[in-house]
Point group: C2
Chain length 237, copies 2
Amino acid sequence: MTQFQFQQIGVVHSCYKQKFGIPRQPGLVKQASASIELLPPFNRLDTLDGLEGFSHIWVHFIFHQCINDNWKAKIRPPRLGGKKKMGIFATRATHRPNPLGLSVVELLSIRQEDGRVFIDIAGADLLDQTPVVDIKPYLPYADAITDAQGGFAPERTELKPVFFSELALSQLNDYKETYQRDLKPLIEQVIGQDPRPSHMTQQQGRTHANTLWNADVKWVAENGQFHVLYIDYPFGD
Amino acid sequence: MTQFQFQQIGVVHSCYKQKFGIPRQPGLVKQASASIELLPPFNRLDTLDGLEGFSHIWVHFIFHQCINDNWKAKIRPPRLGGKKKMGIFATRATHRPNPLGLSVVELLSIRQEDGRVFIDIAGADLLDQTPVVDIKPYLPYADAITDAQGGFAPERTELKPVFFSELALSQLNDYKETYQRDLKPLIEQVIGQDPRPSHMTQQQGRTHANTLWNADVKWVAENGQFHVLYIDYPFGD
């Protein structure tokens, strides 16, 4: 079997410290700001000349937590509630013959700091520390196919409302003052998409946790509603 | 530097037998029909279950004629007439740090023949024998960003008219009877996009040749018009 060698050209820095809670497609959570850092010998601003004119970019990345996992011919996409199996190439599942991911993200800015080169992006569905193997401009005339048919995933998932306890709200205020970062819209979008695997969606009262940046957000699902209980911070790092 | 191993999952069979003449983006030449053959152990219909509901698919492939070439930080995109340099990651050029290509193509059908599994596609910009490393469904709600800004390549290239000699027209008729394949629209689109590299566009009267399937198409550019002289067939193979 023919093999190809790919080298890492960059690394993702993002709010998503764990797989659980990452939106299943990019762009769903507009609040997710992240950056791609170009690694040597690619850490040169000139490799990005002209990219600033594009509003969106493609990121080719590695599902680095799935590299040595076995692939299966069929998997259960979360979009189908875990009830139906689909062929692996009919999905964007992470356990693929080649653990290659593809995301279109919004390009915010390109900056250099202490010799390090960063591309700031929004709408990312990328795990922190994800290896990047290529970056390409999004070409609307070729890539935006407005009449495309979307098979079993024709539409965006609707966000459900998320409620916050008094404690959570006051913690969010304190967090914002401390870190100059408003977590609330990010939490609303990450939890509002219902990140639970399908086998958990019938369970009541179980406390879930999502780590976003250095905050661990504790929440429960009750009667189809999501309630944030409290936030543990600083967490990890 | 971190390296990743990718294995080939399929191979492209296409009308494009050489790099010259391949559209610079997929979808430009709707006539280009091609197929992806899944290679063992991936040559299983069940890996594609559910894909038939999608009108378009992403093909991740290898620029196999550029694998050992060196990358440059800046290149001259053909869209800018060879006059201006852009950063390699601001283009989709083939000479990249990782020779990874990305094309969205129309999905026509999925078929099995003598134990071989084929995905028939249209609108492909893929060289014959291109190695494929992944196939994913095109998700309109995530991938079709209608308000994206396209930098220095905001629009599709307009096709120019292509004229045929009497000899070429009669050869096209004969070719069609022999091979049940109408080459004319494909030729009009391949040549009508002006496939010449920018340093050649000022040259008059030079005979160019494009191999499409098993036909070698000879043509000239004169006063901004394209004239097909004759067709050499069967050619190659």
